[in-house]
């Protein structure tokens, strides 16, 4: 097996596993950059997966055909934002502990999603969808020698959308007035308030955007990878996205890179047994790699990762 064959096996698989992580991690960037911790990404992603699976199933029944996954993405984003509004209400308006509220959100999403699945389908899982996002070659780009085969062949469109969205998020955060406001609210809310910025409003927008993107991540997972929703569809991908966001130092493009890297680790752990020099490495090292690396990154061993300054602290007007 030549080196190119190995890359051709791993790289597309990595890009596929990374797409849901990228969306969810970008959601995390919005929330945490505005100063609100979002442990609830896992739950938001889980509920997005549930919403996606249900919407695609009924989309097929209604004859939407190939459009149903894309409709489901929109629905999952709206539902994700609605669910996140609970977290926003608790942690911004009611000044609850943000981590606790996030944990509660995870419980709520998991309980509600499976409760509704049982209620609607009378079974522990949703029916398997037939309209998945299909793999395709990108015209022209897939003809590029070497790179075309690796990056633009036999891949899901959603993966490219994910990369594109990451660039948009970067532009919004660093090149627009709204992005400046969002970041300032996360670093020093009192200074931002003094400059006339509505701190709670900006934070609400940050949290709702994180819900929308995490919901999208979950729906993309269903449409491209799992094909239905069960209690074990989303087990830790949301936390892995959280890790990617931190490993990427709360920066959209960093989160993108980290998510791709974690996707690579997952791809290797799945298909590593076919690859000559990797099959000797126990699979467990590849499974735990993303988490170990995140801890090392936080400890400053792989480049210092500093959180936004006001992360996790509710803002109270007039408090010094």
């Amino acid at each position: 097996m030549s080196f190119m064959d190995i890359l051709a096996l791993i790289v597309p698989a990595a890009i596929v596993s990374a797409a849901p992580l990228i969306f969810t991690a970008l959601g995390g960037v919005f929330s945490e950059r505005s100063g609100v911790v979002n442990i609830g990404l896992e739950g938001l992603m889980l509920f997005g997966a549930f919403t996606g699976a249900v919407t695609i199933y009924y989309g097929e029944q209604l004859g939407l055909g190939g459009a149903s996954p894309w409709v489901s993405f929109l629905v999952a984003m709206i539902v994700g934002a609605m669910l996140a509004s609970i977290h926003a209400l608790a942690s911004i308006t009611l000044k609850a502990d943000q981590v606790v509220s996030g944990v509660a959100l995870n419980f709520l999403a998991a309980g509600l999603a499976i409760f509704l699945t049982k209620k609607i389908f009378n079974a522990g899982q949703t029916p398997v969808i037939s309209q998945r996002i299909s793999k395709s070659d990108i015209p022209f780009l897939s003809d590029i020698p070497l790179l075309g085969k690796l990056f633009f062949s036999n891949a899901y469109l959603t993966s490219y959308v994910a990369v594109f969205v990451a660039v948009i998020v970067w532009y919004v955060l660093y090149k627009t007035p709204f992005g400046l406001r969002l970041r300032s609210v996360g670093e020093h809310p009192m200074a931002a308030d003094t400059m006339g910025i509505n701190v709670p409003k900006i934070r609400y927008i940050g949290v709702l955007l994180s819900g929308a993107l995490a919901g999208l991540g979950g729906a993309v997972y269903v449409a491209s990878i799992s094909g239905n929703f069960t209690h074990s569809t989303i087990t830790g991908q949301g936390f892995m996205a959280l890790a990617a966001m931190i490993f990427g130092k709360w920066h959209p493009l960093g989160a993108l890179g980290a998510a791709l890297f974690f996707g690579l680790a997952q791809a290797i752990s799945i298909s590593g047994s076919h690859i000559p020099f990797l099959q000797d490495i126990p699979k467990v090292f590849l499974l735990i790699a993303p988490y170990v690396l995140t801890i090392l990154a936080l400890a400053g061993l792989v480049g210092r990762a500093d959180a936004p300054k006001a992360l996790g602290t509710p803002y109270e007007k007039g408090k010094r």
Binding site: I39, A90, L94, V100, A104, S232, I288, A299
Partner: protein, 350 residues
Amino acid sequence: MQNKNNKMKLLVPLVSVFFGLLIGGIIMLVSGYRPIEAYAALFEGMVGGPYYIGETVRQMSPLILSGLAVAFAFRTGLFNIGVEGQLLVGWLAAVYVGVFVDAPAIVHIPLAILAAGVAGALWGAVPGILKARFKVHEVITTIMMNYIALYSTNEIIRNYMLAPGERTENVKETASLASPFLQSITEYSTLHYGIIVALIAAVIMWFLLWRTTMGYELRAVGFNQHASQYAGINVSKNIVLSMAISGAFAGIAGSMEGLGTYQYMTINAAFTGVGFDGIAVALLGANSAIGVVLAAALFGGLKIGALNMQSIAGVPTELVGVVIALIIFFVACSYIVHWLMNRVSKGGKI
């Protein structure tokens, strides 16, 4: 003032439980179930007979310990979300000692529980050291450590302890907490002696925190790190110590599963959930030993009663998860309760 604080301490959990159940009932009503019938079945399944009581008490034991773990770290101002991982390594350590060590029961059981505690303590100390030495937030590291524990324990079982059925061998009888006596008085529920261990742990937690110098220092760090530092308390040491003790409680919670309920350890596809439930237990119990025991009784009972609710009223057991989530939300938002109470007590003036 003191009196009012005590009243609030009781009021917030009670109000939260009430509203959690109320909204759970509304969800059932909207979904086309009969809430009153469902809650009656739930209650029946919690305490309606010796068998159900036995099951509820059995479910309580790991919940008390995981709740104590979360509560203990909270007292030092630390949020240990890593109970789940510490529980898994504790479970594995207890089963390892239970399977591979030969000793009379009087030595074997304490040794296996001790091994679980030490394993959990070591696993919990890592985020503590990272926090003390590198100022890394413990919430993130403990989440990461959970996954590392999940995959690592599975790998160890698969490579060194595998028995047919994706699990380890049963622990030896001398290490087992199972009790034919307790089973016979509860119409053959799965009740075991673990509840005694859990209650002893609750007393130990109370004693450590409120009757020793160490506990005073730990709580002081929780109130104000800078003031403690200024008063000559070694903050770094206390952070590591708190996480280690918290991890020890979590590890022992794992031994409840390993030596009591299951007698072995399975290869887990996902987390047990006991560790995350511990967060709910600690919050509802206001981080006090007695509160944790009461909250564990409620949540343990709800989880067991849910089975009866499903078979009699047809409501999926997951409803209980939703109710528990709602209760945590309300406890977390107690700010609004405090604010309302203040408004009322000041006669409507600000």
